[in-house]
């Protein structure tokens, strides 16, 4: 009941934030010059252009324009994406699965590697393993992600030639039109139709982008996990478990890990924003046909509609993810004060 009240309160608090975000994005669309530009092309006659102005209410006062714009956004009219030659919402639908797949794989990598390294580093405190992990995670947070992408490409795709340069699958699959369209996630789809070869091909392709994207997150998760593990290991209940004669392995992996995971959960949720941001840079280097590459191309082509549509989408996702994380945190840790 307490948790339910909290969730309702948080959902209500979401409304002013989303309105604020929409005002920011709306102001940006109006500052960027004539907002009608996104709907007009050179083949239109003046009367058609007049119709565009009429239809989208660009001749009316700004606050009324905002209401019409918001209505349009809610009715899924996000304007025309020149880059994709599709309406922005359709473009998002096309590019979203690729980004989702990449983000999920990256988060999984970050969780497994980060937690393992964090626990190992806390257990072997001040030993070489700990020092190495800390240095690597320090480098991880100070590394420009696009540079890492290029360097990994250089090492694994160019120099050793063991992994592909980019894309989601070998060209062969695109030429033969073998790609199923069930969920849009190639790794899932290929398993659904039982094509293992395609699955491993997809895995090969996703490895470098996912490692690049998750590198910073791995570093953060490792850091947080190490700190919270150290804190938990000094608590009384761990001493009790040791005094009982429980073996160290199950103390660390069962008793301590569970509580140390709580702060880490929040960090993983929060790093979602970082992953979406990193996707812009990573995807354009690995030619990953997702939202990030689309928005990076839109930037080069001065396609404001696409860029702002992307930003709006990311903002909404980010706000929702933060909400879920907070609720999860309250659920996982009963000590948290809900206010």
């Amino acid at each position: 009941m307490r948790l339910l009240n909290y969730i309702i309160k948080r959902l209500l608090l979401l409304i002013p934030v989303l309105i604020g975000v929409s005002i920011i994005v709306f102001s940006l669309t109006r500052i960027s010059g004539d907002p009608a530009a996104g709907y007009i092309n050179e083949k239109m006659t003046p009367s058609q252009i007049e119709q565009v102005y009429e239809k989208y209410h660009f001749n009316e006062p700004v606050y009324q324009q905002y209401i019409y714009w918001l209505k349009g956004i809610l009715e899924m009219d996000w304007g025309w994406s020149k880059t994709a030659a599709l309406p922005v919402t359709d473009a998002i639908a096309v590019y979203f699965p690729a980004t989702l797949e990449l983000t999920i794989v990256s988060i999984m990598l970050a969780i497994f590697i980060g937690i393992y390294l964090g626990i190992g580093s806390a257990v072997k405190r001040n030993k070489p393993f700990d020092h190495t992990t800390r240095v690597v995670s320090l480098i991880g947070v100070s590394l420009p992600i696009f540079w890492l992408a290029l360097i990994l490409q250089f090492i694994f795709a160019f120099y050793y030639d063991v992994l592909p340069f980019g894309g989601r699958l070998d060209d062969f699959y695109y030429i033969q039109k073998l790609i199923p369209d069930i969920t849009g996630l190639i790794l899932v789809d290929s398993l659904l139709i039982g094509d293992l070869k395609m699955f491993f091909n997809g895995l090969e392709h996703i490895l470098l982008p996912a490692v690049t994207l998750s590198f910073g997150t791995i570093a953060i998760v490792t850091r947080i996990m190490r700190n919270s593990m150290l804190e938990v290991l000094s608590l009384d209940y761990i001493k009790t478990a040791r005094a009982k004669g429980l073996n160290e392995r199950s103390i660390i992996w069962k008793h301590a890990r569970k509580n140390a995971m709580i702060p880490t959960t929040t960090v993983i949720g929060l790093s979602f924003g970082g992953l979406l941001t990193g996707a812009v840079l990573t995807e354009s280097i690995y030619q990953w046909p997702g939202l990030g590459q689309w928005s990076a191309t839109s930037i080069r082509l001065f396609d404001y509609n696409s860029v702002l549509g992307f930003c709006l989408l990311i903002a909404v996702i980010y706000v929702l993810v933060n909400l879920v994380v907070d609720i999860m945190y309250a659920y996982l840790d009963p000590r948290v004060r809900l206010e």
Binding site: P144, I151, T277
Partner: protein, 339 residues
Amino acid sequence: MTDGIKGNGKSSINSTPTPAVKPQIKKSKPSTFNYDRLMKELEPRIREAKSSFSLLRENITAMVGLAFVVFIVLVAIAAPLICPPGLGDPMDIPKDFKMPKPPGAEGHLLGTGNWGADMLYGLVWGARTSITTSLFVVLTGVIIGLVVGSIAGYYGGKVDNLMMRITDIFLSLPALILAMAIASILERNLQNMMLALIIVWWPPYARLIRAQVMSIKENTYVEAARAIGVKKSSILFKHIIPNSISPLIVSATMDIGAVVLVAAGLSYIGFGVNTGYAEWGRMISDGQQWFLTTVTYEDTKYIASWVVIFPGLAILIFAMGFSLLGDALRDILDPRLRR
């Protein structure tokens, strides 16, 4: 009332020695007296600074960070001595309009990049760009955050509510994405990129300083100052802000590195400076078209990897230096952690 007490205290101290001494000495007396008093007042602070510095010296990672930072600052200051600029804008890297040359080529210690732009020149002058950009963004962000945060935290109530809702909106967007949205509608140059970064960067500072001010204003010494009738503004500026500023210093130091990472990302995807400008992110995106191609220099074939590797390393060192320094400052500035 307060002034009266203060005045009485001062005059009684000053007046006690006067009757016994001659008039000439009387004039110089207050200054020596003040000097001693100043030293007495400063003495604990000097002791504190000395012990801070010795703590810094004991901390190896902090010294590494400091060394990186000092190195980059020295390079930035000495840029005209290391690489004398040509006739044009010193921030434009001189080019010979030939193929990239490998490191060690005649007259080019670190080789050349796109259009034969000298790498060393770009790196050295790029240090200036990075330092000025990040310092400007962080300092402006800190000042805005300090004003907004301390007003919100100290006065509370409606002002606080309004200001925090505004920061909520800004914080609900990932930094690079918001900066992207803002930068996408502005003309693409360094000033506008900095403007976008400042808009993104101030809200966390405001939140930080607000929380600090709120906790510090409950302290007994603040209450005491209020009880004897010290003005509200001087309580805020003389008692609260100096005591709440140290977490801000830590986070600002770490952010100097973070700003450079985001700025490099922005200029990599095409915001910010024009091609050929001495900026590390731009150098990577300029060099990328030569990356992994084979260039011939004096009948030897080279894979052009230096065009990307060197600027990336520069960014890494810069970000790592400030991150390490900030980490160390956190330990040093917090009196509860240091002993």
